[in-house]
């Protein structure tokens, strides 16, 4: 474990000096994991690759803000998620804004229940990529990346209530889709 860490530290030090060799090494180490993150937020693999590239640019540019001693995997993950979110902000708009009247009765549904599935990740991702836009981003932030609704609302510049409803719709939608594909 220690050995791996010290090696990573070397690579990070190289990246601080803008060494291409180290940047490539860092990329090789984390690209697969980060690509999976991007795929969750993207509507297609092409878009996921764009996000991945943006994310790594950001990683290399701001690597000096990484604090030695903290977990690098956590840091790079958060950089990637932030990139995905700003990507969302820059290319998309909320198309189907919710009206205030929708809110109250939808909010009844439970949030805590986990979505379980026997499907594999690739299928889940495939389904997730088809999810309509605001839902997918909110779903990802909430379920997988652990944002609170308040944080999501702030990041996306929307009301917290709206985010809750969007999230519930996302769950319903996903459950319906996964249910269907399980039956078939």
């Amino acid at each position: 474990m220690r050995e791996v860490d010290s090696e990573l530290e070397k690579v990070i030090a190289g990246c601080l000096n803008n060494s291409r060799v180290s940047q490539r090494e860092l990329y090789d180490r984390f690209a697969s994991k980060m690509f999976a993150v991007c795929k969750r937020y993207a509507s297609s693999d092409t878009e996921a690759e764009d996000m991945l590239m943006e994310g790594f640019m950001e990683v290399f540019k701001s690597i000096s803000t990484f604090k030695k001693g903290s977990a690098f995997s956590t840091w790079i993950h958060s950089v990637m998620v932030n990139t995905a979110i700003s990507h969302y902000r820059s290319v998309r708009r909320f198309r189907n804004e919710l009206s205030e009247t929708d809110l109250e009765f939808e909010i009844e549904a439970s949030e805590d229940e986990k979505i379980t599935t026997s499907l594999d990740a690739q299928l889940v991702l495939e389904v997730l990529q088809k999810m309509p836009d605001p839902q997918r981003t909110v779903f990802n932030m909430r379920v997988i990346d652990g944002y609170s609704f308040a944080e999501i609302a702030e990041e996306l510049g929307k009301k917290e209530e709206t985010m809750r409803v969007t999230y519930l719709r996302a769950r319903k939608w996903l459950q319906a889709q996964l249910g269907e594909s399980q039956e078939s």
Binding site: L16, F35, M57, F60, K61, T65, K114, T116, T117, V124
Partner: protein, 270 residues
Amino acid sequence: MKDIKDILDNYSERPSEDVWDRLSARLDAEMPVSNRSNLWKWVAAAAGVLAVVGGVTFGVLRHQHQEKDFAATNVTEQTAETQSLEGVVETQNVSSLQEEESTVFVEPQNVASPQEEKSISVVEKQNEASQQTEKSKTPAAKETPKTNVRQEVLPPNSTLAKQLAADPVLRNLSGDDVEWTKPVHLSIPNLFTPNGDGVNDLFVIEGMEQYASPKLVVRDKNNRVVYQSNSYQNTWDGANCPDGVYSYEFTFTYQGIENQAVGKVRIMRS
């Protein structure tokens, strides 16, 4: 039945090789290797000298230490800097020269002794500081929200940069086995909005944590000190300062050398 979070958390997939190619092209454009390390500047200069001086003079230079009269005219043209660089280049090319006279070997001179290197970075940093001052004198109307203090040495797309990137020997010189001073990488905003909305409420200097003793002094238009900290923690909120433009002096220490960045910052609450 598995939780969807677990499934997705544990998943990984190799992106296509194309992504790295694009990424590396963008790195070359936006973060050219040359502007990051002092070594690259040296190497760039060395390559330039190498191209000009060429193989013949090279031989001459090698004789310089044995037969002073022989190479005198050629050598005097070299500046002190490039002379010391010959040491580097020579060692790199020594393998190809060994066939001829393996006994003649010019001792690589001190290419970058710690003192030299430090003094260079001080000069660079001072230059930057003065550049920033000049920049801040221009009207604030079209300023971008953030100003990156950075040093450009070689244009990314210059022929020389490409040649350097293509040369396996020179390229490897930028490797991690050599310890060089860290690049100055500070991002100082020229605008912040201390209106309590949780966004951009503080004067935050990014990259500051790389340096020791961060000191900040802020003055108003009348040159009156409105804020001062001898250990700045990115906490200035512009309290008691009406909207307007202020000038700051940010002092930081790296490897025992004190540097300063000066500029203007606008406080805008609405």
